[in-house]
Structure formats: structure tokens, C-alpha cells
């Protein structure tokens, strides 16, 4: 918990520093995630039915300078209790200890350090995803676009439920292990 808070402050500081540097470097994206224009959610399969479910509350910050993609940083925090599968019953079910255990692990985090350019607005982000006390290093394909004065990073990455101990074995046959995490992160473009 403490580490996360410190991380956020460091992120803010870094964001301010990057903003300050922006004047010199030109086009870049830095600062807090513009939540209303962003989305974080998952697509999972139950009985082979693809279901999309968003997290309603998340936040964080991004520092990105197109001239130095390797120096890009992102910190995203997701409020696990804001998961909305569209049904109150299942929304409460998923907060239980065998699923998210949101009482003990209220937030999931993703920390990206470095974007590898793949050309044509495509990048690969290296980052660490932490959910329910477990962390996994991921390579996440990211598409970058400029849209209405914001830099938008979007993409998706498959993860395994069982790796993060999400869901007990009785659900194994009905809810697929692989879950696709989808995100669209908008940050006001640098000035």
C-alpha cells in the first residue's frame, strides 16, 4: 500500500518535471490520465460467451516523449470494487476472497517503463501488472493516436486468471482462464 502511494507521488513529480521539460522538447504527452475519455476493462468468456466488463474507477499518470520512447513511464491504478459486469449479483460475487478479494487488495496497478517503437504508431510497452498481491511482467502492444488534443494509448493483453488466483476451481468449467485486459488511456497532449 505504502509503496503504491509513494509511486503515485513520484509519478506526479515526474509528470511535473516532464511538463516543465515539454516547453523545450515539443510534442509529448504528460500528466494525469483523463479518466472520462479513457477506459479500462476486461473481456472474459463464460460458457464460451464473450462478455465485456469495465472498471468504472481508475486513475494514474503517463509521461511520454515521442523523441524518447524508451523513457516513457505510465502508472495506472484500478479500483477493483468498481468492476461492473452489468449485474449486481455478479458484481458482489467478484469482490469475494476467491475472486478479487477487494477487501485486502483494493487496487490493481500497472507500471510501464519504456515503449519500444514498432512503426506506424505501434509500440510495445514493457510493464508490470499487479493484481491481488501477485505481479507479472508483460509486454503489451500499444497503439498511439492523437485525438481531440489528447494522446490516446490503446491496446489489449491476455492474462491468466489462475496466475493471479482469481476465481476458485468450481468456476473453472464455466469461466475461461484467459482474460483479455483492454485499455484506452487518454492524456492531454503536452503544450
Amino acid at each position: 500500500m505504502r509503496r503504491r502511494i509513494r509511486g503515485r507521488h513520484a509519478g506526479r513529480l515526474a509528470a511535473l518535471l516532464t511538463l516543465a521539460a515539454a516547453a523545450a522538447w515539443g510534442a509529448l504527452a504528460a500528466g494525469a490520465i483523463d479518466a472520462p475519455r479513457s477506459a479500462v476493462g476486461v473481456e472474459f468468456r463464460q460458457m464460451n460467451v464473450p462478455v465485456e466488463a469495465p472498471f468504472r474507477r481508475f486513475g494514474g499518470s503517463v509521461q511520454f516523449d515521442p523523441g524518447q520512447p524508451a523513457q516513457a513511464r505510465a502508472h495506472v491504478e484500478i479500483d477493483m470494487s468498481s468492476f461492473d459486469v452489468g449485474d449486481d449479483d455478479y458484481n458482489s460475487e467478484v469482490l469475494k476472497p476467491e475472486w478479487f478479494d477487494s477487501a485486502h487488495f483494493p487496487k490493481a496497478t500497472f507500471d510501464a517503463s519504456g515503449l519500444k517503437p514498432l512503426g506506424a504508431g505501434k509500440y510495445e510497452a514493457a510493464g508490470t501488472l499487479s493484481i491481488k498481491g501477485k505481479s507479472q511482467n508483460l509486454k503489451v502492444p500499444v497503439t498511439l493516436e492523437q485525438r481531440n488534443g489528447a494522446t490516446v494509448f490503446s491496446g489489449s493483453v491476455p492474462i491468466s486468471r489462475s496466475y493471479f488466483n482469481i476465481g476458485s476451481t468450481e468456476w473453472k468449467d464455466t469461466v475461461a482462464d484467459q482474460v483479455l485486459v483492454k485499455f484506452r488511456i487518454a492524456v492531454a497532449a503536452g503544450h
Binding site: 460467451v49 465485456e52 449479483d89 455478479y90 468449467d173
Partner: protein
């Protein structure tokens, strides 16, 4: 309606009989599941039963489409002589059954779409969403789906009462010919 040559049919075709009973059996199963699963607590069982319910509904919808096509191209045997009001009631009941057998699964499919859960028939064939995800609309469609399912039950009871009356009171062929595996 009367597209086929007017052979004075006295029996239903095997296809018509098979479709009648297949749809009847599936609707019973689907209705029973529909009574049970929505009140279950969130569980794998609930997800399974909900899926079976939807698979049954889509199967009924497909068979109902085939039945309608068959009915429009094959003349059913004429109803036995009966008072005009009974004839009118029988026709109304049959008409309502056809409409409801299509409407109830269709509303269920729309409800599932609006709830953001696509229907994947038999877990294999993903059907298109009929409406976009919309919580308010989903609630309405859920209500309509249920209301028309209950209407279907009441119309079925009338259908059943008619069949039994013809069989046990009028002692005519009405029920028997739907049980007969003819050569047609």
C-alpha cells in the same frame, strides 16, 4: 396459405408432427429452466442453466421459423366440424401460439443482447446482438420476455383444454391425428 395442390389431406405430415412435438418439448424445458435459474445465487450452475435456457430458446426460434414455412406451404388437415365460435377460438389460439413461440425467444435474445451478454448457441455459434448494451432497455425486455412467456403458458393451457375436450368429450380425431406417425 394454400399453395400446395388441394389433396384432401386427413393427416398431418410427419414433418409437421415432428416439429409440433419437438417445439412443445423444448418450450417445456425452456420454461422450466426460466422459472428456476434467474433466482439462483451467482454460481457456475446459474451460468450453465442460463446458457441452456438460451440455447433452447434459439432452437425453438429456428424450429418455429421452419414450422411457419412448412405450415405456409403444406395444407394442414381441416378441423372437424364444430360451432363457429369454437372454430374461431381454435384459429385464434393457433395464431397466438405461432406469434408467441417466435416472440418469446426473440425477446429473450434481445434481453440478453441489451444485458451485454451475447447469445452463443450451443456454445458454438455466436449470434449477432439485436440491440446495443442498455441496462434500462434490458430491464424492460426482461419484463416483456417474462410477461409473454406467461401468456404463452395460458394460451397453451387453452390449446391443451381444446385438445382434451375434442378427445374425451367430442371423441373426434383432433388429438389422435397429431399423435399419428402417418406416411405423409
Amino acid at each position: 396459405m394454400q399453395a400446395t395442390p388441394a389433396t384432401a389431406a386427413t393427416s398431418y405430415t410427419r414433418t409437421a408432427v415432428a416439429l409440433h412435438w419437438a417445439v412443445a418439448a423444448l418450450i417445456f424445458g425452456g420454461f422450466a429452466l426460466g422459472l428456476v435459474f434467474p433466482d439462483l445465487p451467482a454460481s457456475p450452475q446459474k451460468l450453465k442453466l442460463a446458457s441452456y435456457h438460451k440455447w433452447i430458446g434459439i432452437t425453438v426460434l429456428g424450429l418455429a421459423a421452419m414450422r411457419s414455412a412448412w405450415r405456409l406451404t403444406h395444407r394442414p388437415p381441416p378441423l372437424p366440424p364444430m360451432p363457429a365460435w369454437q372454430m374461431a377460438l381454435a384459429k385464434l389460439t393457433h395464431g397466438l401460439l405461432y406469434v408467441l413461440i417466435i416472440l418469446v425467444p426473440l425477446l429473450g435474445w434481445m434481453f440478453s443482447s441489451a444485458a451485454g451478454v451475447p447469445v452463443v448457441w450451443l456454445g458454438l455459434v455466436k449470434l449477432p446482438n439485436l440491440v446495443g448494451k442498455d441496462k434500462l432497455l434490458a430491464g424492460l425486455l426482461d419484463d416483456w420476455h417474462m410477461a409473454f412467456a406467461w401468456t404463452l403458458l395460458y394460451v397453451f393451457l387453452l390449446h391443451l383444454a381444446g385438445a382434451l375436450k375434442h378427445h374425451f368429450i367430442d371423441r373426434d380425431d383432433t388429438l389422435r391425428r397429431m399423435l399419428r406417425w402417418s406416411s405423409r
